[in-house]
């Protein structure tokens, strides 16, 4: 154990002196967090809107101002039938409201009055969101007239109305959904890459050979080497979480202890994956690419970070079971957003532990074989 500490101390000094590794561990996570945190925003604001108002009544103006006051739409142009296509084609507006003439009159009479909303569907995600905004606004407008009409009249059976209530994230801020994913993503990348590089660098520079000549077995060396990376990536992940709370309003509804446990298991697996890669790669370049491939893609694509696992084809869904970020994300969201108790997600912690044990065994078998 003293020998492992000697290795750890050396590695720690090296990290501090090696600006490149230090950047990967400290600067890159912060950079990623800001970059993705602000750019990966599924909330849509400032949707460019054109209005084709053929009615010009108080009612039609009320609808238009409801759109503008919602904060989601910016009125860019008033238009008529002929210019709509040009505006949409030129991407000047993403939505057009067409209010037919006679709308005010029909509403005053309590008749149904159609409003047409044209939405640019070239980005399906955006289109869906914009459509739901528009529907919400129009529903609340129409409720106003129904209410107005109902005043003093014979009580009618209430119209079937949907009152959605979103749990954990009532404002549906995508930051709350994305930040746990980002934490997993960033922690994974930094832990895997820095560990893989640190061992391959020793191979490349010949210091590995020198160390192998010492009476020191592979596992002592590996343990010593991962200690500082564990501490660094733990610190790095915790700082991401704290920054997310300050900048993105990430709540902390559950137990910090559980969070630390989940994070530790996840990071040990990531370090193990880094070690496994270092036992395969012989140059830092190869190690970097392998590490990026093994950590970056699956964590981004197959963890449920961005794409819901339930809507993946069966084959990909099967693959996600081998991605530790999948389990970590469920646990992290459960702890941070839901304040859930261990009973709700313990299986995911077990899965993280199993992943860590498997990669550590594989890595130590491979590294031992190379050692002697």
């Amino acid at each position: 154990m003293r020998k492992a500490l000697a290795v750890g101390r050396k590695e720690f000094r090296q990290i501090i002196r090696d600006t490149r590794t230090l950047m990967i561990l400290l600067f890159v996570p912060a950079f990623f967090l800001l970059l993705y945190g602000y750019a990966l925003n599924f909330d849509i604001r400032h949707v460019h809107l054109a209005v084709d108002d053929r009615d010009h009544t108080a009612e039609s103006r009320s609808i238009i101002s409801a759109f503008i006051n919602s904060g989601y739409f910016d009125l860019i142009a008033s238009t008529d039938d002929r210019r709509v296509t040009a505006l949409m084609n030129g991407n000047e507006v993403r939505a057009v409201i067409v209010i037919p003439s006679g709308l005010g009159r029909d509403l005053r009479r309590g008749l149904r009055a159609p409003v047409q909303v044209l939405i640019n569907g070239d980005n399906a995600n955006t289109a869906t969101t914009v459509m739901s905004y528009a529907l919400t606004i129009l529903q609340s407008e129409s409720a106003r007239y129904q209410g107005g009409l109902d005043l003093g009249a014979v009580p009618r059976a209430p119209l079937l109305s949907v009152e959605p209530r979103v749990w954990y994230n009532p404002e549906l801020r995508s930051a709350l959904f994305l930040v746990p994913g980002l934490i997993a993503y960033i922690a994974m990348i930094t832990a895997v890459i820095s560990t893989a590089l640190s061992i391959v660098r020793e191979k490349e520079r010949g210091t590995m050979e020198q160390v192998r000549m010492a009476p020191l077995d592979a596992s002592t060396f590996v343990v010593g080497k991962t200690i500082p990376y564990f501490i660094m990536s733990m610190a790095s992940a915790m700082s991401i979480i704290l920054v997310s709370m300050v900048l993105f309003g990430l709540p902390m509804r559950g137990s910090w202890l559980l969070l630390l446990v989940a994070l530790s298991l996840f990071l040990i697996g990531a370090l193990g994956l880094g070690l496994l890669i270092s036992s395969v790669a012989d140059t830092q370049q190869v190690a970097f690419q392998l590490a990026a491939l093994a950590s970056f893609l699956p964590t981004l694509m197959l963890s449920g970070f961005i794409f819901p696992i339930s809507s993946m084809p069966a084959f990909l869904r099967g693959l996600t079971y081998a991605v530790p970020a999948r389990y970590f994300l469920i646990a992290l969201r459960a702890i941070v957003l839901k304040g859930a108790s261990l009973r709700a997600f313990w299986g995911n912690l077990v899965a993280l532990g199993v992943f860590a044990v498997i990669v550590l065994i594989l890595a130590s078998v491979r590294l031992k074989r190379q050692w002697v």
Binding site: A6, V7, K10, R205, E209, V211, P215
Partner: protein
């Protein structure tokens, strides 16, 4: 045991193995202990035989050189002796320990320094020493004493906190040696330790090796610098994985016993070689820098004047000619030819 392949050259052949054998026995008789012993040591990588049937003994306190071109099997041999590589067949014991049975035990007893200065360049001199002391398990008290010893030996007083990467090659090399002997091993392996350092540093390094040897530490050093081999008490020449010759440099040079070597400086050395090769008494020629070495056939007395005369008549301008003692390089070329 010495020359594994019988030298085909007539008279000198018989004398050789015996002479080295007897000097081995003399050492044993003088109470010297064999600390490295290999018997028919071989190592294959797939179909490639990197080391073939090497048997040798290295005695305590000896500076033992292993000489050979790159790829001859020097590093493979040293790695087997250090317990890093399992022999395919044959045995090796280092400090009395079988390398295939207890590689960790071997590692505890040896120091190793390789051609690449395997220090952490980002760390300071002091941090490197502390790291290696740590992985060799030195306790605090011993670390302090050894740290001072290494700093002094490498001449690094006042530079304890310099980044190792900022040191010049010679200092780094001495520090690497220091780190390799922190744990006071009785046997030290140096794998091409002087590659890429200036001649002054090389000389200083070899005086450190002499000091180790003087304190009864056994040093096995590989090199392809033939002049360095002259510092060794005995030299093993490895060629294509085989032990081609073993003995003191004087014993190795005895391969030329009965044959003279003439060194010729000529205006056109290549033409001189061509002419010399045509002469009956010349066995072979080789180029040494700008000079030509001509090995004369056995029992032909050297007659430099006659040779020079014939060269001049053939139109080759001879600026100097005279007999020279065989150098290790002559020995090396001779052995390479025999083993080809």
């Amino acid at each position: 045991m010495t020359t594994r392949d019988k030298t085909p050259t007539d008279s000198s052949a018989a004398a050789e193995p015996g002479s080295a054998e007897s000097s081995d026995e003399a050492r044993v008789a003088a109470g010297r202990k064999a600390v490295i012993v290999t018997e028919h040591l071989s190592r294959k990588f797939g179909n490639l035989v990197a080391v073939r049937d090497v048997s040798l003994r290295v005695y305590q306190g000896e500076i033992f050189g292993v000489l050979g071109p790159n790829g001859a099997g020097k590093s493979t041999t040293i790695r087997m002796l250090c317990g890093l590589l399992e022999p395919t067949s044959g045995t090796a014991t280092v400090g009395g320990i079988d390398v295939s049975r207890d590689p960790e035990g071997v590692k505890r007893r040896i120091g190793y320094m390789s051609q690449r200065f395997s220090l952490y360049e980002a760390l300071t001199v002091d941090q490197n020493i502390r790291f290696f002391a740590g992985i060799y398990g030195l306790d605090r008290g011993r670390l302090e004493a050894r740290r001072r010893f290494v700093i002094e030996m490498a001449g690094l007083e006042g530079r304890e906190h310099t980044r190792t990467g900022d040191l010049a090659g010679g200092w780094r090399q001495r520090l690497a040696l220091g780190c390799a002997i922190l744990h006071e091993p009785r046997i030290v392996f140096l794998d091409e330790p002087t590659g890429g350092v200036d001649p002054v540093s090389r000389r200083r390094f070899w005086s450190l090796i002499d000091q180790l040897s003087a304190s009864r530490i056994t040093v096995l050093v590989t090199t392809h610098y033939l002049d360095e081999a002259e510092h060794c008490h005995r030299v093993a020449i490895i060629h294509a994985g085989r032990l081609a010759a073993l003995g003191s440099t004087d014993e190795l040079k005895a391969i030329f016993r009965g044959r003279s070597i003439l060194e010729i400086h000529a205006g056109n050395p290549v033409e001189a070689m061509r002419r010399l090769d045509e002469m009956a008494e010349v066995e072979k020629t080789s180029l040494f820098g700008t000079a030509v070495h001509a090995v004369l056939r056995a029992d032909r007395p050297a007659d430099p004047a006659s040779l020079a005369d014939r060269l001049s008549r053939a139109g080759v301008e001879v600026t100097a000619i005279g007999p020279v003692p065989p150098s290790l390089e002559d020995v090396f070329l001779e052995l390479a030819e025999q083993n080809a």
